[in-house]
Symmetry: C2
Subunit: 321 residues, 2 copies
């Protein structure tokens, strides 16, 4: 009776398994739980801290303690089928996403990738051809400041949609939850275009912040030559997106430049990774785009230059760890 | 009588003032003195050591002590007119070459610039429009290992010629002297083309060695993406040289790549400067070429990318000294 009445009053809570307890997984996991979803997490290096005390999210909009329903070392321990597996790991050649999510994916599970880069969905789509793949972009300034400790600095909007395109009731459910927790969220039917649009910012600023000597966004835009480079890389991304069938709005470059000028000086995630001697998302942010350009026969000389340099820097850093 | 007899037996020794006692100035100064020229030097930071004990050049072809005729703190102290002022300083915005050579330049003085880069002669030509300007390229692996101490590792050929073109008896005299001291030397009537040809190597390897994470030539050529970048930058230099009226031989790229593959792994001068927190020759090696390209309306996107990054790296390094 009790069960029935609850079922009639409101729909069953969405069962979400978040893979990764860094800034992105911690922040959205906490907000989804706050909104009433049943959120469990897979933590790896931070397992002990998260299992002991959950995840603390410090934010100007209020600090929250997020106590996950289950804290696991891997998805196979989940023991049920998630409605949504939210992948919030970095996209690195060593991270095998299909293996990471495997144990918790059933017939009705949607796999939501909240990750950086372009063309990052294909390995998951190939591994789970019958599941809904959702692709998400986090517009957030947040850092993991310790095991199970997230500092939310600014922004937070999640843009998500069905991959490669189309409507998704699950995406709408996630939007409702996030918005009820005060997090702006946009559902798009063309998430690939949204990814290209985000790459307009990521492709220049992330690599240049590292390669130009460890500089924040303000320092980059204070230099005429660096600004010229940023703009030229953005033009390459726009041409490439259009050639790949995803034309972007005409004012996207100006919006990105002006938007960055008014932002607080920002250390890109790639620069933070570099300075902390962690691997950088070189392939997701540049390598995949360069490969698409080569397939299409479109020259992207500046992106190729940044890509070659960054691969080498990443290899040097990793070999010296 | 004594004077007359000596005058009749052989021509008066060439009076050479070498500006700079780093690897290039020290090595060629020593060899020219060995061959019988009257070589004086202007030393700046190394003045005390060079004034006290001269310059020691350590080399597989024999160690030599070079005791300059005069050791000066500046050219104005020279007190006479040199036949040749040999400038062996780095080409940096802060180095005012016309001022450096000023005091020793008379009507008959040739000014020989043994320096890196492209289009570096113009300030000197403008300052001394009636003097012969000689331009020289040192193909040498040598390092300054301490004040007045040069380690000659390999090579040593000097290519020189009248700037912007034409024959030069003074250049021939220098060739005779160097060759009598065992140093190979080539006199060219088209030294600007020779500079472009050297830039084919310098424009990719110097910047990439720094920007790719501090790597030697072997590491660069072990990476497929980096080798592709090196080759593409070389192509930009060749196109630019041709557009500037100095077409290069068709096989120059392959020769440079293959020649570098068989070299001992080599740390470029720019990388040594970077690692020792010295300013890098960014403008001489990249900036001037990029400006020529912009004047000609020729796209050099890879060189522009390297230039923007390197300017920023140099500025960051200098501001953190």
């Amino acid at each position: 009776m009790e069960e029935d009445r609850r079922g009639g009053d409101k729909p069953a809570a969405l069962r979400i398994l978040v893979i990764g307890t860094g800034a992105v997984g911690g922040f959205y996991g906490a907000r989804l739980a706050q909104a009433g979803a049943e959120v469990s997490v897979v933590a790896r290096s931070d397992y002990d801290a998260v299992a002991a005390q959950g995840i603390h999210v410090q934010s100007d909009s209020g600090d929250t303690w997020f106590v996950p329903r289950k804290v696991l070392r891997s998805a196979v321990e989940y023991g049920e089928e998630a409605d949504v597996v939210l992948v919030a790991t970095k996209v690195l050649p060593v991270v095998d996403t299909p293996r990471l999510v495997g144990g918790a994916v059933g017939r009705g599970t949607s796999i939501l990738l909240v990750q950086n880069g372009i063309d990052i969905e294909e390995p998951v789509r190939r591994a789970f051809p019958d599941n809904e793949i959702l692709s998400g972009l986090a517009f957030i300034a947040a850092n993991r400041i310790g095991p199970g400790r997230i500092l939310h600095l600014d922004y937070g909007r999640l843009t998500l949609g069905r991959y490669p395109s189309g409507p998704s009731p699950t995406a709408e459910s996630i939007r409702s939850l996030l918005e009820s927790a005060g997090v702006p969220c946009t559902v798009t039917q063309d998430v690939v275009t949204a990814r290209w649009q985000k790459l307009v910012w990521n492709a220049p600023f992330n690599p240049v912040s590292v390669l130009a000597g460890g500089v924040d966004t303000r320092t980059i835009l204070e230099s005429e030559e660096s600004t010229r480079l940023v703009r030229a890389v953005m033009e390459e991304v726009c041409r490439l997106a259009a050639a790949a069938g995803h034309p972007l709005p005409a004012d996207v470059i100006e919006q990105n430049i002006q938007g960055t000028r008014v932002m607080k000086p920002y250390m890109t995630s790639m620069l933070l990774d570099f300075e902390n001697r962690r691997p950088m998302e070189v392939e997701a942010i540049l390598g995949n785009a360069v490969r698409i350009a080569r397939c299409l026969g479109l020259p992207v000389p500046r992106m190729e230059t940044l890509y070659a340099l960054l691969r080498s820097v990443d290899a040097q850093r990793q070999s010296s760890v």
